[in-house]
Symmetry: none
Amino acid sequence: MSVNQMGRPRDERLGRALLDATCELLAERGYAATTIEDVARRAGTTKPTLYRRHRNRVELVTEALVDRFGHDPTHDTGTLRGDLEDLQRHQVTLFGDPVLRGAMVGLLDELRADEEAATVFVSRFLAPRRAATARVLERATERGEIAACDDPEWICDLVTGPLLMRAMLPGLPPLDETLVEQTVAAALASLGVSGGAGRRP
Amino acid sequence: MSVNQMGRPRDERLGRALLDATCELLAERGYAATTIEDVARRAGTTKPTLYRRHRNRVELVTEALVDRFGHDPTHDTGTLRGDLEDLQRHQVTLFGDPVLRGAMVGLLDELRADEEAATVFVSRFLAPRRAATARVLERATERGEIAACDDPEWICDLVTGPLLMRAMLPGLPPLDETLVEQTVAAALASLGVSGGAGRRP
Amino acid sequence: MSVNQMGRPRDERLGRALLDATCELLAERGYAATTIEDVARRAGTTKPTLYRRHRNRVELVTEALVDRFGHDPTHDTGTLRGDLEDLQRHQVTLFGDPVLRGAMVGLLDELRADEEAATVFVSRFLAPRRAATARVLERATERGEIAACDDPEWICDLVTGPLLMRAMLPGLPPLDETLVEQTVAAALASLGVSGGAGRRP
Amino acid sequence: MSVNQMGRPRDERLGRALLDATCELLAERGYAATTIEDVARRAGTTKPTLYRRHRNRVELVTEALVDRFGHDPTHDTGTLRGDLEDLQRHQVTLFGDPVLRGAMVGLLDELRADEEAATVFVSRFLAPRRAATARVLERATERGEIAACDDPEWICDLVTGPLLMRAMLPGLPPLDETLVEQTVAAALASLGVSGGAGRRP
DNA sequence: GTATAACCGAGACGGTACGTCAGGTCTTGAT
DNA sequence: ATCAAGACCTGACGTACCGTCTCGGTTATAC
């Protein structure tokens, strides 16, 4: 093997330029108006070069998002409440980002018709975030703060759903620190932690 | 004498056929693949006729959704928990409907670039639902079940966000009765109703 | 018979307005850009009213031309040369008219695909003019100026062809008195009248 | 180094196919019924490809005509009469061609509204033919057959007008050898050549 | 004087074609 | 093998007229 590596090598700066141009256009104009031709033009290159790296728009955007929002750094703060607040502050930043707001709904629409791309998106973007939340719950169980959670999926939806909603629907209040507190409190209450519900004193 | 209503009147069956065809295609193929030409063809008419009634795809789809999911019948069940369960069962049906699942994300994407259409969507589709939730809370306050809620927006996001999430993101569990219970319990807990959190016995 | 003549009679001013509007638009914008809708609008009426009087654009324009350029008044001037000059002066005016220049070529194009309309155009517009020319030749024969002409069609083409050409092709010299002299001289020469060819002294 | 000639070169077979399809449709159905879509379809290609080469129907048809009837080969036959007969036989063939008959009037109509296209048509189609006629007259002057012609435009109209008329107006006799003789005789008479007028013996 | 019939305005309707835009592929010459 | 350039096929866009139709309402003659 390794007869590979013949011919002119790829210009790696082009890969970056393409992903960056994609993010810029997503933030400026949204998904539908982010055309392949415009991405290539803004990156200073051409369509065939783009297609050599990304099979279509869905994959291009998915890869741009993964590249930009790839991994949540979840720290162990020592308490469940601390971990959840950390998680939610990160998510508020994420869903407040104009790139993600511009990309999300349009991308989700196309994923409905492209099962393969949907799988990629789930495994590289969605699943890691949900896994991070599950890990927070596991650590809390190990600490003895809560009993083993029997439906971590629900907790994920509970903490992320309201944020997603504010990010995607028009005319709603902005994502802010209040929302962090509210979602964390709701999660703690749902997990049976006393003092979780209502306002903190 | 009213000089209004001149000329050949519109064939209202066509209006119906167009909205129905729109819903069918949204359910079958999603928003992006629901082309104006296909809608017109399936409705048994032509593009100019469609454009006489709907200025563009955003308005067509918005009107189709409003027509189909126009008004939530909120009954007064006598208790806050009952009202919320009623509300959530209705929302589970709504977000589980393939028409709405097919339409939602794509429509939201285009609304980002069309402020006028976004306003219409908000006022005719979103606002009435949030108002219904607010009414449920007011009734509970009048009954003395809860103190006046100082952030009804948050309760709306709390009960709807998780449903929206399951409806829009790929690879998540289905919308079911369990989710009704979980969201209602979370809402009650967040409203300070004792016994709200956790599973009901 | 004569159960006709019931109901509201036609408003004859509309017929006039339609023909006039047709001529105006033909002169301003040519045949192709003279749409039925514009004619009706400018006449202050509507399409169905127009179609009640004219089956289609070809007939509308034909009737407008016949109405405007209906009949050549051919006077007997006493000499062949005088008759021909009279004829040609009339034709120069005719082919110089912006209405006819605007209408002619476009109308001829559509006549190619509508044999019935072509027949109407020939019989009501073309044939009378050629007959007038033939009559001039007959009168000259009766006067003894020329022998009986055995190919009057050719004389028609000879006197009219150059005018038609200048009227229809772009970039050619204007129709003027010189052309009257030249065509008359050529016709006389072709008819064997000595002194016909060349310039008159 | 010339940076010209980049990108994929045009498939010249497509250019040919488009011009040929245009001529076929012009001959079959005339100008008005020669739609861009049909031309593209018959050429086995698509509208955008057609529009890449021809800005609109006027230019497409003009270029098709120039391509097909591009240049009159005027031979020097040694005599004025011979040259004119040669010219006229060529013109009879030209105006008898169904492609040109189908295209001419419709094209002329649209040229009235498109000055730029009219200029192209004049310079590439009309002017060369008139120049050829002028050259015939110059050669005759050089030979001493006639004095210098002071109005060659008139001779052009004289020899071409009658042919154009027969080609464009419906219901007229066909273009034939007789017309060649008649026009040549008229031209010679008009140029002052004795024996020009009337029938040849 | 009251039917009755044709007229008129307005505008919806099914069509067909327009000229444009973008997606995704392919071909060329050059690096 | 990759790159810039751009041609190519495909399919949908939103618009413009065509010629027809259906209305509500208006005149006239005919009964």
